[in-house]
């Protein structure tokens, strides 16, 4: 029963981000010259406007949309790399396994954020690069988990049976083993999402993520922080949404993992 609040929060945020902007009176990039730094409920701006008179709620929801899209895409990239890496290492075993896992260990110890920042600075700031870069960084845990699970499945009778029946290794891993790991993989996918959101917001905060007029929660927090002494809501609204999203995804992922990993 205790997983429900997190599911509800996530559902509400996703629906609001997907449909909310259409239901609002103002577009996220429309400037209302009569309402610069407006208070909530002025001229149809439900939570007020930002420093150039754009509707804060619309901007927050569109920002959440971008953040969510980047997060899901990057987590998917991380999942594909991680599952492939872990499955190959686990299946092959021996020296190959040793070498591949040493690489993972070494990568864990790296200041990866700096490499991502370098990538962003050097190769322009497209949304595509943002999620590819983040995805390429966040696959390590997934690889470790999948490898461990594959190792423990390898000696199970159904895998031996498939082997004895002459199935190719790729078939065994893809058709027989991975479906057994679906739950664990989904749990770690959920846990990857908040990390990706964190990295994306971090980059956007430094001005290295997506670019205007597109926006993301990180950019909104940054803008809000810049004039919070005048309009604290500009910081609080996107900040609260970001924290709610991170908290819900983390606790849901935790619960799933605890339940599936004996």
């Amino acid at each position: 029963m205790r997983g429900y609040p997190a599911i509800i929060v996530i559902t509400v945020i996703v629906l609001a981000a997907a449909l909310g902007p259409m239901a609002l009176a103002w577009r996220y990039d429309a400037i209302d010259w009569q309402a610069i730094h407006a208070a909530p409920m002025v001229r149809g701006h439900l939570v007020g406007t930002d420093a150039v008179g754009r509707d804060l709620l619309a901007r927050t929801l569109v920002g959440a949309r971008v953040t969510l899209a980047v997060a899901v895409a990057a987590a998917a990239v991380a999942m594909v790399i991680g599952v492939a890496w872990g499955a190959i290492a686990g299946w092959c075993g021996g020296r190959i396994d040793e070498a591949m896992m040493r690489i993972v260990d070494a990568l864990y110890a790296l200041p990866f954020m700096f490499v991502v920042i370098l990538l962003m600075v050097l190769f322009g700031r497209s949304v595509l690069l943002v999620f590819l870069g983040i995805g390429a960084v966040e696959w390590l845990t997934m690889a470790r988990v999948v490898r461990g699970q594959i190792l423990s499945l390898k000696t199970r009778p159904f895998v031996l049976a498939a082997e004895a029946a002459g199935a190719r290794p790729a078939t065994i891993v893809l058709r027989h083993m991975l479906p057994n790991l679906a739950g664990i993989i989904i749990a770690y996918l959920l846990l990857t999402i908040p990390q990706v959101v964190m990295v994306e917001s971090f980059l956007s905060f430094l001005g290295l993520g997506v670019q205007e007029p597109l926006t993301s929660l990180g950019i909104l927090v940054k803008d809000g922080a810049d004039d919070m002494d005048l309009a604290p809501l500009a910081l609080l609204v996107p900040g609260a949404l970001l924290v709610a999203l991170l908290l819900a995804a983390t606790s849901l992922g935790d619960r799933l993992r605890d339940r599936l990993q004996r």
């Binding site: 200041p111 490499v115 370098l118 600075v121 050097l122 190769f123 971090f202 430094l206 900040g239 924290v243």
Partner: protein
């Protein structure tokens, strides 16, 4: 233990070299260079500049020269801050970043251990659940949200502490940055310790202690704490890495002249030696910290000393 350390050391140096190589190649492969300003330079000037900094040499030669310099402790000249060498910039920024990160790590450990121990005293009770929810919330609070929020409340609202900036020897400038940086790590440590204590408390030696009639707090501190610290110790390496990267944001939020600021400035301006120097230094620090975490692990768990 020696075997483990040896293994770690043998991977540490190649890892460091790989980081330097990767950053070096990335910086030089990317379009744009340090002297691409608003106005194109006169070709003769451009050539002279490139020659002065060795940028006209083939990449492998440049890399070799960089490594040689590095081995002599020379990080090269800064291309953007023309009056400084990278070594001087690091010498200016590193103490600030290390103070910030070190204090944050101490605070995170103290806070995290306290939360974890108090929560584990009554497993499943209301205090336990409230504290663990709080710890999860802490881990979900990005530093760039807590930083401005703390400023809003304690600097702008209450006026107790300075908003931002840095004056040497004035500790009040460090309070908010350190707290903002420490909170997520504190939450993570609290959760790890609470989970570890939960497992250890179910083990036989704890049951024996309980059967002897020892007080719960004593059992927790004398019998359960040490094995439960193992996951915390292995988290310290990644935690240090997280604090160093978090410091980049914190230094931006609070306008502190630390190493992270130089890194972002350097990257934006293609200051190759500055960026390489900072990345190399950070990689070395993180690797060192992982080694220290391994040592702590060996001290806590006699079975792997070997």
């Amino acid at each position: 233990m020696t075997a483990l350390l040896w293994r770690r050391l043998t991977t540490a140096l190649p890892t460091l070299a790989a980081v330097v190589l990767l950053s070096f190649v990335l910086m030089h492969v990317a379009p744009g260079g340090p002297f691409d300003g608003e106005r194109p330079l006169d070709p003769a000037t451009r050539l002279a500049l490139d020659r002065a900094y060795g940028l006209n040499q083939p990449l492998p030669v440049q890399f070799g020269r960089y490594l040689t310099g590095l081995a002599h402790g020379d990080f090269g000249p800064s291309l953007v801050y023309r009056d400084f060498t990278v070594g001087q910039l690091i010498a200016k920024g590193l103490p600030i970043s290390l103070t910030l990160g070190g204090l944050a790590l101490l605070l995170a450990c103290a806070l995290g251990l306290a939360i974890g121990i108090v929560a584990a005293l009554r497993p499943g009770g209301p205090i336990d659940r409230a504290l663990m929810l709080g710890a999860t919330l802490l881990t979900a609070l990005p530093t760039f949200v807590t930083g401005p929020l703390l400023v809003l409340v304690f600097a702008i609202g209450l006026g107790w502490l300075p908003v931002s900036g840095w004056e040497a020897g004035v500790p009040s400038h460090l309070v908010l940055p350190v707290v903002a940086l420490a909170l997520p790590t504190a939450g993570a440590i609290a959760r790890l310790l609470r989970a570890g204590l939960g497992e250890v408390m179910a083990q036989d030696h704890v049951r024996a202690a309980r059967a002897r009639g020892l007080k719960p707090l004593r059992i927790l501190l004398r019998h359960a704490l040490r094995p439960a610290l193992l996951p915390v110790a292995s988290y310290l390496g990644p935690a240090a890495a997280g604090l160093l990267t978090g410091a980049v944001v914190i230094e931006t939020v609070f306008a502190l002249p630390g190493l992270g600021r130089y890194f972002v400035e350097g990257a934006l301006n293609r200051d190759y030696p500055l960026v390489l120097g900072v990345v190399t230094l950070y990689a070395a620090l993180i690797i060192l910290f992982n080694l220290a975490a391994d040592l702590a692990y060996g001290w806590l768990d006699p079975r792997i000393r070997g």
